[in-house]
Amino acid sequence: MASSRVRAMPTTAGVGLRLPHLTDVMATRPSAAWFEIHPENFLANPHAAELLVDIARNYPVSVHSVGVSIGSASGIDRPHLARVRALVDVINPIFVSGHLAWSTHAGAYLNDLLPLPYNRETLHIVSAHVDEVQDALGREYLVENPSSYVGFNTSTMTEVEFLSELAHRTDCRLLCDVSNIYLSAHNLGFDRDRYLAELPPDVIAELHLGGFASEPENGGGEVLIDTHGSRIAELVWAFYARALKHFGPKPTLIEWDNDVPALDVVLAEAARADAVSRSTLAPGQVHALAP
C-alpha cells in the first residue's frame, strides 16, 4: 500500500483542527506544524470541507476517523468509509487513523468509542476489518489504543498483545495515545509503564496527547474521563517523556475537542510537547522522524 503523493513528515507537534478554529486558521495562517481533522466534521459540511481543502494546501493534515468502527461485529460502515476515501483522495493526508473500538451496531451509530473484549474472536473480526479499510483506502491505516472505563472478563490477551498481533497480521501501524494509556491504566488498574515497555517502537507511527477530567466514584476513588476538554495533565507530560525515550521521535498531536479554547491555547500545548521532546531526546533524534 502506498499513498499516491508522499508528504513530508512533521518534525514538531501538531494540533487537532476543530470547526470553531477554521476561519481563524484561514485568516491568520498560524505557525502550526500540522493539523489533524475528524472527517465526520467535514463530510456533511460542504462549507467546512471547502475551507479544509484550502488549509490542506498549506499545512500537512492527518485524517482521524471516529466513525469507521473497525470493532463492529455487524460490519464496518462501508458507505462512510467510501466518503472518507473520497476526502482522503482530495486532501492527501500524512496519516489516516482510527480507534480500536466500535461505534456502530446494526445501523445504529452510538457516537462513542466503545470497548472490545480482547480475544481470538475479536482479533479475527478486527483484523479482517483493518484489511478491508486499508484496501478501501489504498493506504495504511493507523489504529489507536482506546481510553477505557470498563474491560471484559472474557478477554484472553492484554491490549498490548492484541494491538501487537493486529499490527503483525495486517501490516497496519499504531497510533499511541499516551493520555489514553495513562487514563486506562488508572481506570482498569494495570501498570502503565509495563504497557509502554511492551509496545514495539517500530510499529508506532504517531502519538496523541489529550486532556481528561476526574470524577469521584461510588465506593471511593475516582475515574478519569477522556473529555479532550482541558490542558494535558502534568503527570501525563512526564509519562509522555518516558514514551519518547522508549519510542524515539514520533509525530505528536494535541487533541482538544470540548470546551475548545482559542487556537493559541492549543498551540501552546503543542509547543510544550516540542519542549518535552527537545529536553528528552538527543539533538540528532528530534529531527529524525522517519516516514
Binding site: P46, G67, T122, V150, E217, V223
Partner: protein
C-alpha cells in the same frame, strides 16, 4: 460465552436506553462498580446527542422553552439513534418527533418552525456553485426544453406552512421580545437559500413555489410548469423560469434518458 455480536447488541441497548445492562454485568470488569463504568458511555451518548440537537435547534428552545426542548432532545436520542457518524446529518426527523410530544399541541406551528430551522442549518453549510447563464437554456428548442430537468444550488430548500413561521424566525433572530406579537394562521410558501454561513428566507407566490419546488424535486420543466398552472391559470412559467435562472439558482440542465 456470548459472541461479540451478542455483546455489542446488549451494549447498544444499554447505551441507548439503559436496557440489557444486567445481562452484561457478569462480563464486565473495571472499578468497584462496572455498571457505573458502563453508565459513563450511556451518559456520553445521551449528553452528546442532546447537546447536538439543542445546538442545531436553538430557535426551538427559544419558542418552546428549555425544559420542553431538553426533554424532547433526550427522548429523541433514545428513540432515534443516529444512522451514520456525521452528526451534522442527525436530526432531520426531529421536527416530526417534536410535534408528537406531549405539550406540543399548544404550539401547532412547532413542526413547521423546527423544519424551517433545520433547513436554515443545512443551507448555511452549503456552498454556491457557478450558476447557469440564461443562454444555456435559450439555446435549447422550446419543445425540447420542457423535457429537461434542472439542478439547483445545494443551499436551496422549499417549505410551505399554514403559519407565518418566517416572521417567528425573524423575531428569534432579532434577539428582542416584542411587547405584543400577534401570530395568526396564514399560509406561506418559503424559499430558503444560503451558503457559507449565511442564509435568507423569501416568500413566493404559490404558483412560483410549486414550480420551483417541483423542479428542485426532480420534475421536468414541463411537468413543473403544468403543476404551477394548475394552481394559477394566469401564471407565466416562461417568466418564472427566467427569474429562477437570473436569481443564480440553476447550476445545470440535462434531459433525462428515457427507457426505450
Amino acid at each position: 460465552m456470548p459472541s461479540l455480536l451478542e455483546i455489542q447488541r446488549r451494549m447498544r441497548d444499554a447505551v441507548i436506553a439503559d436496557g440489557a445492562a444486567q445481562v452484561l454485568l457478569p462480563l464486565l470488569a473495571g472499578g468497584h462498580d462496572p455498571k457505573a463504568r458502563l453508565a459513563i458511555h450511556r451518559h456520553h451518548y445521551q449528553a452528546s446527542l442532546t447537546r447536538a440537537l439543542l445546538d442545531k435547534f436553538p430557535a426551538v428552545t427559544w419558542l418552546a422553552g428549555e425544559r420542553f426542548a431538553i426533554a424532547a432532545a433526550q427522548a429523541f436520542a433514545r428513540a432515534h439513534p443516529p444512522a451514520a457518524p456525521c452528526i451534522a446529518e442527525y436530526g432531520a426527523d426531529y421536527p416530526v418527533f417534536l410535534a408528537s410530544r406531549a405539550g406540543a399541541e399548544r404550539l401547532p406551528y412547532l413542526r413547521a418552525f423546527a423544519a424551517l430551522e433545520w433547513h436554515l442549518g443545512q443551507v448555511s453549510i452549503a456552498i454556491d456553485r457557478p450558476s447557469l447563464k440564461i443562454e444555456s437554456l435559450t439555446s435549447i428548442e422550446a419543445s425540447e426544453l420542457v423535457d429537461h430537468q434542472l439542478t439547483l444550488q445545494e443551499g436551496l430548500r422549499y417549505c410551505a406552512a399554514a403559519w407565518p413561521i418566517d416572521d417567528l424566525v425573524k423575531q428569534y433572530l432579532s434577539g428582542a421580545a416584542p411587547e405584543r406579537f400577534t401570530f395568526e394562521p396564514a399560509e406561506v410558501h418559503l424559499e430558503i437559500r444560503g451558503a457559507r454561513g449565511e442564509f435568507r428566507i423569501e416568500r413566493l407566490t404559490q404558483p412560483e413555489f410549486v414550480l420551483r419546488s417541483a423542479i428542485a424535486g426532480g420534475s421536468t420543466i414541463g411537468a413543473a410548469a403544468e403543476r404551477a398552472l394548475d394552481i394559477g391559470a394566469t401564471f407565466d412559467p416562461g417568466q418564472a423560469l427566467l427569474r429562477l435562472v437570473s436569481d443564480g439558482l440553476v447550476i445545470a440542465t440535462a434531459k433525462p434518458e428515457t427507457n426505450p
